[in-house]
Symmetry: C2
């Protein structure tokens, strides 16, 4: 297990989130990347209200933020890319392969996450609003179009470019965050792809560490 209080890499995480959000907070993505790369890390848990100076580290007040010597990052995509640059397990060393992995990393966080998070915002965060059903149907239709294209691309392959990369890591995380599970289940090759990601030993270790850090009650 690479959680080590003396490690030079520090990742922030929330000490408490509501039970439905556990297993989805974005520190999980960074923990997974660190596990794939075999890099130890320490966790700084944020309790209760964020301290005012945390916004200088993470301007949105979210997690994760990342520190390693003089390097200070936020945004799970930037952090996972930084980690990937340290390990061929996440990023091929040749320029063409590196470009494909990076392309899928951005595809996950922009082309897929825009409709995916949009659906979370309309269907979960605003579930009680009178416009929730109508708006959610529009985001679900857009998301379904993207999922259909991704399913076509993946076909019978194990990973998006044949071998696992940081692009798969992020795409699996975005797909498993989709508020309506039926949207992914409609594409059996995508459902199997997510299951393959979740079965990786590094994912399992990351999820165990992610879940173990939550306290039962908010401070």
């Amino acid at each position: 297990m690479p959680v080590d209080p003396a490690a030079p890499i520090e990742v922030t995480a929330f000490a408490w989130v509501p039970p439905f959000a556990r297993g989805q907070v974005r520190d999980l993505r960074v923990r997974w990347a660190l596990e794939e790369a075999g890099l130890p890390y320490r966790v700084r848990l944020l309790q209760g209200e964020r301290p005012a100076d945390y916004y200088r580290e993470q301007p949105w007040g979210q997690v994760p933020a990342y520190r390693e010597g003089g390097v200070a990052l936020f945004e799970c995509g930037a952090i996972c890319l930084h980690i990937a640059e340290k390990s061929e397990a996440l990023l091929p060393r040749d320029e063409a392969g590196r470009g494909r992995a990076t392309t899928w990393l951005f595809a996950a966080l922009n082309s897929m996450d825009v409709p995916a998070m949009g659906l979370t915002i309309t269907s979960i965060f605003n579930a009680e609003a009178d416009w929730s059903a109508g708006a959610s149907a529009a985001f679900a239709a857009f998301l379904d179009q993207r999922l259909s294209r991704l399913s076509d691309w993946l076909g019978e392959r194990e990973w998006l470019e044949g071998r696992f990369t940081v692009g798969d890591l992020m795409m699996v995380c975005v797909l498993r965050s989709i508020a309506d599970e039926g949207l992914v289940a409609k594409y059996p090759n995508l459902a199997a792809y997510v299951a393959r990601g979740e079965a990786r030993p590094a994912f399992i270790r990351a999820m165990q560490a992610h879940m173990a850090d939550f306290v039962a009650e908010p401070a």
Copy 2:
């Protein structure tokens, strides 16, 4: 002007989009990055229906796609990062500075673009829906929160990390894509930041080339 039919770098663009979308299609972002880096490029214009094999190049059927020798990319973020790696004009060479620029690139395309594109989807693409106003108000409120944090971060600085990087390039592009201009105008330092980006000679050249490639009528 680096548009050169013999250049080794190829970027795809649409030959026609509705007038309201001109000046916003994402090939502009890549042209801007190429202008900042001083790299010549050729343009492959897509006319009418996308050919079926274009989806193997750009799985969403969007632009831009990018080719350069054996490198084939899509997603404007991945392409701009690839270009940035070739030029210190876009990406500092030290690890800490590189990490900050990359962080803002992802921040623009995920933390800012999720609510920004969400608002475009609810208020423009679904303007006639009975749920449009309610959903748009929710996305505008979320976006305003992010803009407020970005304004706090930027303060009196010229660029997000003091000097212009690919992170500023993308953040300026996302801010200028926001469907409700009043949201950015509310923060004078952000409005001035966008204007500074749009005043850069490289942006002006990229915009001229982007606009010059559109034909008057769809094929």
